[in-house]
């Protein structure tokens, strides 16, 4: 080890192709090829169908990016699904009375507030995030049902539906743009910024992070607020895409979001944060779902498949901290 200049670090030796890092893309590609072959007569490869897959996975991907950050710090937020519904309803109600900007602020405010409360229970009251956020999920879900007595709130504002997931910019759905923006911001924040580093350190070894002077409690609290707001965005996108707000939005999403994050290669024990992996995981799930529909499987059978996929992903995912 004679020459230890900085240049050494960037030698091709360190750029070895690591199959493991690209495995997720290979799996996506593999499934795509298999489906493209077996479902070639059932329209899998049609542009409409492929766009459909993107549309159906977009909102899940966005929520999954938030969940990846949460998990990277070593915490869970199980209240994201119900936050989607409440933010959607509050957003739509505000839209009817006050217009787009207040509606967006109101919806994001709901998510931020829920996140603030979650953070309080976990950071200050020292409750396990798993339990605190599951309790919060119940509260928020009840509120979402109560606020309009189970009634849907129609959204007629065309500008709103265009921006939030209903429209297209040229051939590209706005939903796709939102997903891309959230993914890129998420990836950059995780890998290239001080905040991302603090999140990973917190999830990797909270004692070491604290000893090194990182305010791990602040990091976690902030993350709860951020994931609340991301869930709110998901709620707005559902509202725009489906031209109405409903208390049922997001109800089934937690399961899929967790599946996407884990299939994407993130450890459920915290400390890993591959945003791109998460989004690819979400795409894999969407593609498999789509394929199963085209094969003629029922919704019930699809749910079973998704469960099996989570089990396989967890079995293959990075193990917990060493003893």
């Amino acid at each position: 080890m004679g020459n230890m200049g900085g240049a050494d670090l960037y030698s091709p030796m360190d750029r070895k192709f690591k199959v493991k890092e690209y495995a997720i893309f290979l799996i996506l590609l593999g499934i795509f090829i298999v489906f493209a072959f077996f479902l070639r007569d059932r329209g899998f490869l049609s542009l409409v169908n492929l766009m459909n897959i993107f549309r159906q996975t977009a909102i899940i991907s966005i929520m999954a990016v938030g969940f990846t950050f949460m998990l990277a710090s070593g915490e869970f937020d199980l209240s994201i699904g119900s936050t989607v519904a409440l933010a959607s309803l509050v957003g739509a109600l505000t839209l009817q009375r006050a217009g787009i900007l207040p509606a967006v602020f109101a919806a994001l405010g709901v998510g931020a507030l829920i996140g603030y409360a979650n953070g309080f229970f976990v950071v200050k009251a020292k409750m396990p995030s798993f339990l605190a956020t599951i309790a919060m999920m119940g509260i928020i879900h009840g509120l979402a049902r109560w606020i309009t007595h189970l009634q849907a709130v129609p959204v007629l504002n065309k500008t709103f539906t265009y921006i939030f997931g209903g429209g297209n910019i040229g051939p590209i759905p706005t939903l796709f743009v939102w997903t891309l923006v959230v993914m890129v911001i998420g990836q950059v924040a995780m890998v290239m910024t001080l905040f991302g580093r603090k999140v990973l350190a917190t999830g990797g070894n909270v004692v070491a992070a604290r000893l090194a002077g990182i305010d791990t409690e602040r990091v976690k609290w902030l993350l709860f607020i951020v994931i609340g707001m991301i869930s709110s965005l998901a709620g707005l996108l559902y509202t725009g895409r489906l031209h109405a707000a409903r208390y049922t939005y997001g109800e089934q999403d937690l399961f899929t979001v967790v599946a996407a994050v884990v299939i994407g290669g993130n450890s459920i024990y915290g400390g890993t944060g591959t945003i791109v992996g998460t989004v690819v995981g979400s795409l894999i799930l969407g593609m498999v779902n789509n394929g199963l529909i085209l094969f003629g499987f029922s919704v019930d059978q699809q749910v079973i498949f998704r469960g099996i996929m989570i089990l396989i992903a967890v079995a293959l995912s990075p193990k917990g901290p060493k003893e």
């Binding site: 080890m1 230890m4 200049g5 900085g6 050494d8 670090l9 030796m13 360190d14 950059v188 924040a189 290239m192 910024t193 001080l194 905040f195 580093r197 990973l200 350190a201 999830g203 990797g204 070894n205 004692v207 070491a208 992070a209 000893l211 090194a212 002077g213 990182i214 400390g271 890993t272 901290p321 060493k322």
Partner: protein, 254 residues
């Protein structure tokens, strides 16, 4: 510098409830010296080190640094004075690479709204640190959990040294290591003195203590029962000091 001591502990007392952990303990550390601190379990070694590193405060007693009394109320105070602690259970983030661990909590970053990490600068400085201490880690971008126990310990020591300390406290740095790796960590420990660092080396592996220390302090039940020059003592004498009462030792010598 009249007496040549960088660190002096005088008449240190510490109790936890009714339990007296340290009773009237004195310890002196010379510039560039390595002292071994030995004792049976619960003899008070870790408590003493935690007082020096700021994790605990002594009930009574003085701490002098370069012959001036200092107050060490918390780990930050200790760091400011120039005292670093290397923990037994490595305080590293296993999921991060070597530069990330060396710079944990004081990452180099831009001053823009989004604080972008200056990864290249951190990698370069990390290589400098590893090079200076002759730590053999081929690819610093390796995640720490992929390194051997000895390499991890070296990273932990490297992190301590990167704060430019005057004193490093090492708590059982060779515990849980394979034999080959122990020697490397001991060599690294000896090398630190070339960088004007004085060391307190805690271990219950007497072989290691004899390999690196200049003098050996023995704690027993909270009392400092012996201080020996390494060259004027042997393992047998240290073991007796660790485990036997004074009368027993005397009767054996007769």
């Amino acid at each position: 510098m009249k007496n040549g001591y960088i660190l002096e502990l005088r008449n240190i007392y510490k109790s936890f409830g009714g339990l007296r952990a340290l009773i009237d303990v004195d310890l002196n550390l010379r510039h560039g010296e390595i002292i071994g601190l030995v004792g049976d379990n619960a003899a008070g070694k870790s408590t003493l080190m935690k007082i020096v590193s700021g994790a605990y405060r002594a009930d009574e007693g003085k701490i002098l640094f370069n012959e001036e009394e200092v107050q060490i109320a918390n780990p930050k105070d200790a760091r400011k004075i120039g005292i670093e602690m290397v923990y037994q259970d490595l305080e590293l983030c296993q999921n991060l690479d070597v530069p990330a661990n060396l710079f944990l909590g004081r990452e180099l970053h831009s001053e823009t709204f989004f604080r972008f990490l200056r990864k290249r600068n951190m990698e370069k400085e990390s290589l400098d640190i590893l090079h200076r201490l002759k730590i053999d880690i081929r690819n610093p971008r390796t995640k720490v959990d992929k390194l051997s126990g000895g390499q991890q310990q070296a990273v932990a020591i490297g992190r301590a040294v990167s704060f430019d300390p005057k004193i490093v406290l090492m708590d059982e740095p060779t515990a849980n290591l394979a034999v080959v790796e122990i020697e490397k960590v001991l060599e690294l420990t000896l090398r630190l003195t070339e960088h004007n660092i004085s060391i307190i080396f805690i271990s219950h592996r007497l072989d290691d203590v004899f390999r690196v220390s200049d003098r050996i302090y023995v704690l027993k039940h909270g009392y400092m029962v012996a201080v020996k020059e390494k060259l004027k003592t042997n393992k047998e004498e240290i073991v007796k000091a660790m485990f036997m009462d004074v009368e027993e030792q005397e009767s054996l010598q007769q």
